[in-house]
């Protein structure tokens, strides 16, 4: 059962002068329906794109009018302008209304590399297409996702944390994150997720209480691991190891160090650990109660992990959710699993069937469920006082991203942010980086390929919001983060001529 909130630590626990910043990522998959994701309101003085355009740019969503920055056709609006009793859009429903002043809805972030279904695109590793859907970007070198840049940054973690990052999902054990363990030039590996709340809990709070048996040094295993660490360090001096071999040894040294750190931590000095959750090891079913319970337990673990400062980085792969079934007259919800199975009726299949009204209804329902039952609930748990007037949410950057943009195209990839990262961002706004007077290359149901802004600038924004400077993440003399390759995209069909001169800058106007 979910943890009892009464067991949570009191808000006065964190006494640091500067509250820690945290980066939490929630990822959904395939398509977000443009008209259901973004406001489509013509009230409150707004009009739809349809009123201005007669071509494919007339997409049924709200036309923003306030200029965001000088010299660009970027626009913005206060999110509260679109607030109704039903929320601000079909998917971003009423459960998010209390948080509108703390949200930033961003439109027009384009993945530059040509990706298909992928793992790490939303966090900057575009060469991460799935095996079933290889893509042009696969030829790019793997780079660490930005959460892992943070995880190994001494600016983000001044000392080795007990857990650099926590990765959770239901149904899929491949994480969206890729890491080189903080070793520049080292092999980049995809991380794995925890799919059982108990495993996640154990990662965060440890598996076993200290031994009560008399005699043995309670610290003995840490001391034994220290010896193993020394063995690896000594091994590096062998003349019969190549540079590549030594890089592997370095990797061991890092991992053993992390094991040492884990064994060194004095449990729970700062907060009371929550109750151990039940084990839910089934990772393949679609039982609605199982999915719901697991998400609830996951959010409890996440919240406790963040509040107890066991980790400051969390990713949540939302491969499973509830949504309405195919019979529109049946109000009950059923379980959905987004896998690579694109057959009819599956979450993925619905996303491929975007011109079918019933499929759209179901797809909207799934994402609305995620908004209410995962995203909003997470925000509720985090929006409690931490220090002074700020809440944990205020000091965090919560990023709801998506695998792809509309209709399986890597353009205008959804991005909903919560929190201000300790005042770095100015939230409460809907920012639109699409130049609506620009060329509409082609359109599909609800979606038009019109040039926006490189998603790379969001990556930069997130990295800097978490306290890093360009020198902390830029490599090879290249500004910004993440590939800017548009290889394989024809300029006849796609927008490719971005302003690469600003690729290393944060999103214009996002700080207000």
């Amino acid at each position: 059962m979910p943890f009892l909130e009464s067991l949570w630590p009191p808000p006065a626990r964190g006494q640091a002068l500067m509250p820690a910043k945290r980066f939490i990522v929630l990822k959904t998959f395939s398509t977000q329906l443009v008209k259901e994701w973004y406001p489509a309101s013509s009230g409150n003085g707004y009009q739809l794109h349809d009123a201005k355009y007669s071509d494919s740019r007339a997409d049924g969503t709200t036309l923003l009018t306030k200029k965001l920055v000088a010299g660009k056709n970027y626009t913005w609006a206060p999110l509260t302008d679109f607030q109704t009793s039903g929320g601000i859009s079909g998917i971003l429903g009423p459960s998010l209304n209390p948080f509108l002043p703390k949200l930033t809805l961003v439109r027009g972030l384009d993945f530059l590399p040509a990706v298909n279904h992928n793992y790490g695109g939303l966090l900057g590793n575009f060469s991460s297409c799935t095996a079933a859907t290889p893509c042009d970007a696969d030829s790019l070198p793997d780079v660490p996702t930005i959460d892992q840049v943070l995880a190994y940054s001494s600016k983000f973690y001044a000392s080795t944390p007990s857990l650099r990052s926590l990765h959770l999902s239901q149904g899929v054990t491949d994480a969206m994150s890729y890491s080189n363990l903080g070793m520049a030039g080292a092999q980049v590996q995809q991380l794995k997720t925890r799919t059982n709340p108990l495993d996640a809990f154990n990662d965060v709070f440890g598996t076993n209480p200290p031994s009560t048996a008399p005699g043995p040094d309670p610290n003995r295993d840490k001391l034994l691991v220290d010896r193993v660490h020394d063995d690896y360090v000594k091994l590096k001096s062998s003349s019969r190891l190549s540079a590549d071999d030594k890089a592997l040894v370095d990797r061991y040294v890092t991992l053993v160090s992390e094991l040492q750190a884990k064994l060194s931590v004095t449990p729970m000095l700062a907060c009371t650990p929550p109750a151990t959750p039940q084990s839910l090891s089934n990772n393949s079913g679609l039982d609605t109660a199982d999915i719901t319970t697991k998400w609830s337990l996951f959010l409890d673990v996440v919240t406790a992990a963040l509040m107890c400062d066991r980790t400051r980085i969390v990713t949540l792969g939302v491969h499973k959710a509830l949504g309405p079934g195919p019979d529109s007259s049946d109000p009950s919800l059923v379980g959905f699993y987004h896998s690579e199975d694109a057959s009819g009726g599956t979450w993925h299949g619905l996303a491929h069937d975007f011109d079918n009204a019933n499929s759209r209804r179901m797809l909207k329902g799934i994402n609305a469920w995620v908004a209410e039952n995962v995203f909003a609930k997470l925000l509720s748990k985090l929006d409690v006082p931490e220090s002074g007037d700020s809440t944990y949410l205020d000091n965090s950057l919560v990023y709801w991203g998506n695998e792809l943009g509309f209709n399986h195209i890597a353009y205008s990839v959804p991005c909903l942010l919560a929190g201000s990262a300790g005042g770095f961002l100015k939230p409460g706004r809907y920012l639109d980086y699409i130049d609506w007077d620009g060329r509409a290359y082609f359109s599909q149901e609800d979606g038009n390929v019109i040039q926006g802004i490189p998603h790379n600038q969001f990556l930069v924004t997130a990295l800097q919001a978490m306290g890093l400077a360009p020198s902390d993440y830029e490599t090879g003399g290249q500004p910004g983060y993440g590939s800017t390759s548009v290889s394989g995209r024809s300029s006849d069909t796609w927008a490719v001529d971005y302003d690469f001169g600003t690729i290393g800058e944060i999103l214009p106007g996002i700080q207000g």
Partner: protein, 648 residues
Amino acid sequence: MHTRAHSRALLASPFVALLAVACTGSIRETVAADDDSSGNAATSGGTGGSATSPGKGGTSAGSGGTHAGGAPGGSSGSGGGGTSGASGSSTTADPGAFGTCPSGTPEPGVTPLSKLSTVQYRNTVVDLLRASGLDDLIESVTPLLDAVPDDSTQASFRGLDKRISSDHLGGYFNVATTVGDLATADPKHLSALAGSCATQSSLASSCLDAFLKDFGKLALRHPLTSDELEEYEDVAQGSSPAAASPADALRNVVVTLLLSPRFVNHLELEGSPVSGRDDYVALSPHEIAARLSYTFWQTMPDAELMSAADDGSLATDDGFDKELTRVFADDRTQQTIWQFWNEWLRFEAFTGFASERPAFRALAAGEHVGEAGHDHWGDMVQEVRDLTELYTWKQSGTLLDLLTSPLSVTQSADLSHLYGVKAWSGSGSYPTLPDGTRSGLLTRSALLASSLETTNPFHRGALVRRAILCEDLPQPDPTTLPPGSLDPPPTSETETTRARYQAKIAGNNLCLGCHTTFSNIGYTFEAYDSLGRFRTQEQVFDEQTGALLATLPIDTTASVQIGDEPASDVDGPLALNQHIVASGKVEACLSANYFRYTLRREPEANSADACAFADMRTALTTTGRGLRDVFRQIAAEPGFRARKVGAP
């Protein structure tokens, strides 16, 4: 090391230039009921699926995972299939990567430092417990072994996945501490571990030394050096940590040994320099013992190997040959060789038959394939295992025998019914497959079946090009394709599957340039339905109801080019098989893959690796030696007993 006189140029890949055209690979999105079966990974999170269960079956070369996903090459069915040819991941190996075998005494390629594969690690822990008289602990340790991440077949063979992660370290730690705790928890286990002296109130130095020379040697796979003895004596008797009892002292040593870099990795640092070089060494006898056992058994050396290493005989040609013969004849080698076929042909990627689909049930009417309660995919895979083992172990068969065998070796009543033969009884002569229906490995159902009621000729063709012929098919860039390019062609009452797929790419030169190299191969396999059943007509079913919509004549003729020969017209899979066999490309492909699988590394061009490859390939030709000899040959190569160190 004996002298080489090879100077053989290897086959170039005549298709490379042609294939360098977009629009070939698979965008079909495969069914994956539970996406990850590999479980490998990096620094955080899940433990992934489990692999072998050492406690149940003892040592095993098997891999983890379940049958999941698609026909070999990853071409599982999806909700309609895709239109492009290739499968997801592949085990494509480039025979051209070996270059030419130099004359003289060439050096082998670089052997990088690597961890034990997860299968090897699990087997090693289990065998260490057995060798130490601690068999009864295996059951308790097995769940922890299972929690160590499986190696992935995502891009290649499991053994080539050498990534390590915090989950590995965490898994090793849990295993080490649990073994340490359990093995020292009571006098019975302590006595088994270190003798009755370990149950005394204090730990005598002689007791500790004997333990280190025995258990320490087993764990580290060599007699402990004086430095190592000193190190582990300090673990037991020093102050960091201070042991509270003899049991605690031995426990700490066990934990440290099982976490040692020398336990979890293949560390080969003790050999003798060749020509005074520190970057090229002849392996020590104990390192040779470990190479032999891990290559063919996937586990630590047994007592006989260690004995041959101890007395130095393993370092002699005769002594090595004797042990190689013994090791190769062991059942564990058969498991290792089967796992090679299993991973090469990607059988673990199958996701299961879509028997819930009305159209699938309609197709399978009269057969039992896909029905609940029996693993028919398992029957299909077992048939391939039985066939390969027939020509490898029961008979001194050749690759040609395997590729052209008319025998039905399955004991499955349902599979033999699908083939139209009687099931083999388990003894006596094998039934012969009906004339004109099948010939050899490539026409067995495990290489033909897919999840759905319809075939995908693109996938079948790509499997042959990629996995069997080792040709590199580039993946298409979906973003350059017109919308809808990757959607499956809809079922038609008037068109066969072949016609529908042909129409999908007709007139599109971007696609045709590459598709013609493999699609035509797939068309010849239209002689089999998606169950792998031979047919002369194609039945078209309504997807929703399973109603028979049409029965259409199939066309299995195609113009196919294999190897260096010009394109020629073939009719049906048997004629195609003849071309494939005659091309000699399967020999090269098998040799390249077997090298990578057994040695767990990529070849180095123009080194002794090229000679090993050439030896295997030559031996596999129709006039060459049997499969068994070829599989053994890899260890008889001089480079097997040496290690080349990479650039500092």
